[in-house]
């Protein structure tokens, strides 16, 4: 059985002037997943989310939300999506209650009771002016606006960035509940990989404006190993070395494996998600540095497969 992906990107790219904010981005998020979008600052996370919701126009490729194009079938996409922008825009002169009324007027599926319940749980008085709330409270009002819309796909740009640890925990619980109760699909960008590991079951790693990895977290964990061995040890056949760190007497390799490694001079360990993510980000950074600083080396051992002349 084939189900329409909640979010699908096909060769998606966005160029700002001469530089690509996001490039060759392809992945699918099946419905019902909580997907994490991780990557360093400026790797194109916000650009990707904005293209998915139709605020930003792709320079190349396509993006589909439940099979619909945000540019051409805006209505179909908008009523299915809950979008939290990085800047948490709200009408600052509105009272919180007026913000909720705004949401009610603009969204047919608006869940007023849930919205008020969330705000009551978060101790945010609805009679306050939005502009008088703290940054964290504003973030929570903005998030409540997304959730009360009862969307099928939540796109959250750094939802926990302005929150204290307790609020992060509460937010993650709220997200989990929404997913369990409504089958909502979530794509959230974050730097807090520990939080992600707690709730997410899917991960997309963006680095240097490209997708390095997009897969189920369980599979990602199962298909990567940390190899600890002597300095002279050679990586086993059939493995893809993501990152290598060398100490005086030993070498640590983070590798992607197709089948279990049983023999050889390596001690095999299971890496954490954080270690895997960091390994991918390091690799992308190294490739970026190589191609920028040393064009000779880059063309000699081409990373992106340019045909030799």
């Amino acid at each position: 059985m084939s189900t329409t992906p909640a979010l699908e990107a096909m060769g998606l790219g966005k160029r700002y002037g001469h530089t690509w904010g996001l490039r060759d981005c392809s992945f699918e998020i099946p419905p019902g997943r909580i997907a994490a979008l991780v990557g360093p600052n400026g790797s194109g996370k916000s650009t990707l989310l904005r293209m998915a919701v139709g605020i930003t126009r792709p320079t190349a490729g396509q993006v589909r939300v439940f099979g619909h194009s945000p540019a051409e079938q805006a209505e179909e996409v908008l009523r299915r999506i809950g979008y939290l922008d990085q800047e948490r825009p709200l009408y600052r002169s509105f009272k919180v209650a007026e913000m909720l009324r705004f949401g009610d007027k603009l969204n047919p599926g608006w869940d007023s009771a849930t919205a008020r319940q969330y705000l009551a749980d978060l101790n945010i008085p609805v009679e306050s002016r939005v502009g008088n709330l703290s940054g964290g409270q504003q973030a929570q009002v903005a998030l409540t606006m997304c959730l009360a819309k009862r969307p099928e796909l939540l796109l959250l740009d750094e939802p926990v960035a302005a929150l204290d640890p307790l609020a992060r925990e509460t937010l993650m619980q709220i997200l989990l509940r929404a997913v369990v109760e409504d089958g909502t699909t979530v794509l959230l960008s974050s730097h807090a990989i520990a939080d992600i590991a707690m709730v997410c079951d899917y991960v997309i790693i963006l680095s240097a404006s490209r997708v390095s990895l997009a897969d189920d977290i369980d599979y990602v964990l199962a298909s990567h190993r940390l190899l600890v061995g002597g300095r002279e040890a050679i990586a086993p056949a059939g493995t893809d070395v993501i990152a290598a760190t060398h100490a005086e007497r030993q070498t640590n390799l983070l590798v992607r494996v197709e089948e279990p490694i049983n023999d050889g001079p390596w001690r095999v360990e299971e890496p954490t998600l954080e270690e895997i993510v960091i390994a991918y980000l390091r690799r992308a950074e190294a490739e970026g540095t190589l191609s920028f600083d040393d064009p000779g080396a880059a063309s000699g051992t081409s990373v992106h497969g340019h045909a030799p002349r």
């Binding site: 605020i55 126009r57 805006a74 209505e75 825009p89 002169s93």
Partner: protein, 318 residues
């Protein structure tokens, strides 16, 4: 959604309404003062022989009461355009400036519907605000300017056209706001553009919106006419065109031919040259037809700007 749109711009409308209310009060006070001074003056029948000795002081107080006249005309001239621009410029630009467009455009309605609603509510509020002020100006031009509503300085500030100017300025502000994405810049660009459009229309278009009337001086009523051209035409011709042009110079060289030549009376020259004096004008009874036509021009232009704004916002994806 209408509530939300109203809620967003509410404070701006209230401030604009307050400013217009102050203008209305000033006009009513100044107009009533001037009207009273005029009544006093005309009751003295100063033009008749043996007029009252109070004529001089009554005339003085009428002229001092008219001091606000020029100011009133300028206010009436500027208010609709400025109000339209002030209300129109932030419609799109303010949302983009504060990033709230990313909130508004990701709710369940399309941004075209969002924009149409915002423009409708804004246009309605603009029309109501300026429309409420127009009767005051209408009365004031009668009281303070002593009629002559067809004359451009009074035509501009009375009747329907102020509302049409305001709607045009509103849509111009909205479009510029959508294009330059800064409220201040939209306003700053809107003022000269609006002024230029108004100037060009007033100078080159208005007089021809309704076919003008040609009349000889004998039939010319004493006041409330907007005279466009006057001069001499061949007898039997009531209007220029088809190779017939104004011939005022030939009459001038006949009446005043130069040193040492016989000077003729105008009447003599007219019959000598077989010409007659003709006035081209928009008479006072064209007032409402001309008002409707000019309002139509500005409302049509506003509609074009409205469509362009919707297209600009619909296409806009950073």
């Amino acid at each position: 959604m209408i509530w939300a749109t109203w809620r967003m711009e509410r404070s701006l409308y209230l401030v604009a309404g307050a400013v217009l209310a102050v203008i209305a009060v000033l006009l009513v006070l100044a107009g009533a003062h001037q009207e009273a001074a005029w009544t006093t003056f005309s009751n003295l029948h100063c033009s008749q022989p043996g007029a009252s000795s109070g004529c001089m002081s009554a005339a003085d107080s009428y002229y001092s009461a008219s001091r606000f006249s020029a100011t009133g005309v300028v206010i009436g001239f500027l208010a609709p355009g400025l109000l339209g621009l002030v209300v129109g410029a932030p419609i799109v630009a303010k949302e983009i400036g504060q990033s709230t467009n990313r909130l508004a455009w990701t709710q369940s309605i399309t941004r075209t519907r969002w924009l149409v609603l915002k423009l409708s509510v804004g246009a309605l509020a603009t029309a109501v605000l300026v429309g409420a002020l127009t009767p005051v100006f209408q009365w004031w031009t009668g009281a303070a300017q002593r009629g002559d509503r067809i004359v451009p300085s009074n035509f501009d500030i009375s009747g329907l056209v102020p509302v049409a100017y305001a709607l045009f300025a509103f849509m111009l502000g909205a479009l510029l706001g959508a294009l330059v994405r800064r409220t201040g810049w939209a306003f700053a660009l809107g003022v000269p553009l609006f002024g230029a459009f108004r100037f060009l229309e007033r100078t080159y278009v208005r007089s021809g919106l309704v076919p003008p009337v040609y009349t000889s001086t004998a039939q010319l009523s004493p006041s409330n006419n907007w005279v466009l051209n006057q001069g001499y035409l061949p007898l039997g011709q009531s209007s220029p065109g088809h190779g017939i042009t104004w011939q005022s110079e030939s009459v001038a060289s006949c009446t005043n031919p130069g040193v040492g030549k016989a000077v003729h009376s105008v009447h003599h020259c007219e019959s000598l040259l077989r010409l007659h004096y003709v006035v081209q004008m928009q008479p006072g009874n064209h007032y409402w037809t001309l008002q409707l036509a000019e309002a139509g021009v500005f409302v049509a232009a506003a509609c074009v700007l409205c469509v362009l704004t919707i297209v600009a916002v619909g296409r806009w994806r950073t």
